[in-house]
């Protein structure tokens, strides 16, 4: 009970502190709000990019084109060689006939051209379709397959895949950099707010010391004040994330630009993001006030 009463008193004092220096508190809250909105945008962006990367990674396939003169034994030998390459997740043989059928099914134009081809005329080659475990090692796998006798050509959308992945990584890094910079600025602003609060309460702090308040008794209200600034600053970003992302998802019908880029479904994504925003807000607030207390509240 005693602890609860002390906590309640500290929270009450923290509220008083926030409103006593309202213009400064407002500046800190606004800064946290802006930071957290950027954090939210970064999270939405990077989570969706990650999600998209996973989809791309799942779809990327190495196609090894085989010489049409190979015998079925030689084709089997190639399969054995592919199977022992590191990073190969799975592989599948697709004959020229199967590919021809698929192409004819997919387009009327292809169907018209291909329907009269007999087996000797058909220029399409037998293939192995290979998937890798780690997309970053795809080039190495493709190079190894290229060196196998009987493989005439290897294709995996090279260039495009690498560019896409490096673009994603670049976006990721920019987001992280922006968030770190903003968090530091915000922590500094909160630290200044708390410093001024400490200044305006020197008399009270002096009396507290005299009557035997411990360091913890004196410091905790300021830490809670920072925490409170963090909570107040996270309200708008959380609301924006929940409402904004849900509306965005509805507006684009779950896909961005084409069916290929799927957006993450709002629930539970927005709630997880909100929790992260609240935690970041609280931690930034507490860190800022802790810094001020440590620097300016000599006990």
């Amino acid at each position: 009970m005693k602890t609860i009463r002390i906590i309640v008193r500290n929270i009450r004092d923290a509220f008083k502190g926030v409103f006593r220096n309202f213009s400064l508190s407002f500046a800190s809250i606004s800064c946290i709000t802006i930071t957290l909105i950027v954090v939210a945008i970064s999270m939405v962006l990077s989570e969706n990019v990650d999600n998209f990367t996973v989809i791309v990674e799942k779809d990327v396939t190495i196609v090894a084109f085989l010489d049409n003169e190979l015998t079925s034994e030689q084709i089997e030998e190639i399969k054995d060689k592919i199977s022992i390459i590191d990073n190969v997740e799975k592989y599948e043989f697709k004959s020229k006939q199967t590919i021809t059928e698929e192409m004819r099914d997919s387009s009327e134009v292809f169907d018209n051209i291909m329907k009269n081809w007999d087996d000797d005329e058909n220029p399409i080659q037998n293939t192995y379709q290979i998937k890798v475990t780690d997309i970053n090692g795809i080039k190495k796998v493709a190079d190894e397959i290229k060196n196998i006798d009987g493989v005439t050509l290897v294709k995996y959308g090279e260039g495009m895949v690498e560019q896409l992945i490096s673009a994603f990584e670049f976006i990721h890094k920019i987001c992280i950099g922006a968030v770190i910079a903003l968090i530091l600025v915000t922590a500094f602003l909160i630290s200044n707010t708390i410093k001024i609060t400490i200044g305006s309460r020197q008399r009270e702090i002096g009396i507290m010391r005299l009557i035997g308040a411990s360091n913890l008794n004196i410091r905790i209200p300021f830490i809670i004040e920072g925490l409170l600034l963090g909570i107040l600053g996270s309200i708008i970003p959380i609301a924006t994330t929940i409402y904004g992302y849900t509306e965005l998802y509805k507006h684009f019908d779950g896909h961005l630009f084409s069916n290929f880029i799927k957006l993450i479904t709002p629930v539970p994504f927005v709630y997880k993001t909100s929790v992260v925003l609240l935690v970041v807000g609280v931690l930034v607030g507490m860190f800022g006030s802790w810094r001020a207390v440590k620097k300016h509240l000599k006990i």
């Binding site: 009463r5 035997g212 360091n215």
Partner: protein, 231 residues
Amino acid sequence: MDLIKLTNVKKTYRTGVTAIQDLNLRIAKGDFVFIIGSTGCGKSTLIKMLYREEKPTSGQIVVGGIDVGKLRNGKVYKIRRKIGVVFQDYKLLPKSTVFENVAFALEIFGLPKDEIYAKVIKVLELVGLKNKIKNYPSQLSGGEQQRVAIARAIVNGPKLLICDEPTGNLDPETSMEIMQVLEEINKLGTTIIMVTHDINIVKQMNKRVIVLDSGRVLKDYEKGTYSHENN
């Protein structure tokens, strides 16, 4: 039994000024002691060391069984909870009422509301301010403000009350009223150490008097002898 014991205490500030030297002193529980002396004689340094605002350079200071000089900064609150301190400038919170100013000393320790109310009212009654609980410091006279400060200092039931020139800003009549309040508190068992320049108060109260000079005890008078020797 001694509440305070100082043995070979010396205090030299960083500036090189020695405020206290070779000080040996014993103050018994329940005593009422005046500390007097000219400006710069070490009175303030002495009482600051008692509530551990300052640390002795050498020697030992024991207050209520605690070796004050050895207390780390983080543990100073342990001694402060056994001591009440009253200053010349009252040190009240201007935006808080009389009740809130006194209750403040209890609230930070998490006491229940009804207990706080009972203790604050009791102590305000003792200092004669029960009817002014809702007033703000600016609405009170100097003497009344000092009574609030005394009430706040004793509301936790300290063993020792240190008063640093509590009547310094007050007229003679109000000063005597404050002294009567302090005497009442002393009668209830609280040891009182009071620093003052007011010789009239010292004479009228007829208590133990310690005279400091250049950081040393010049004289230590028992009751009544002081006024006689100085006249």
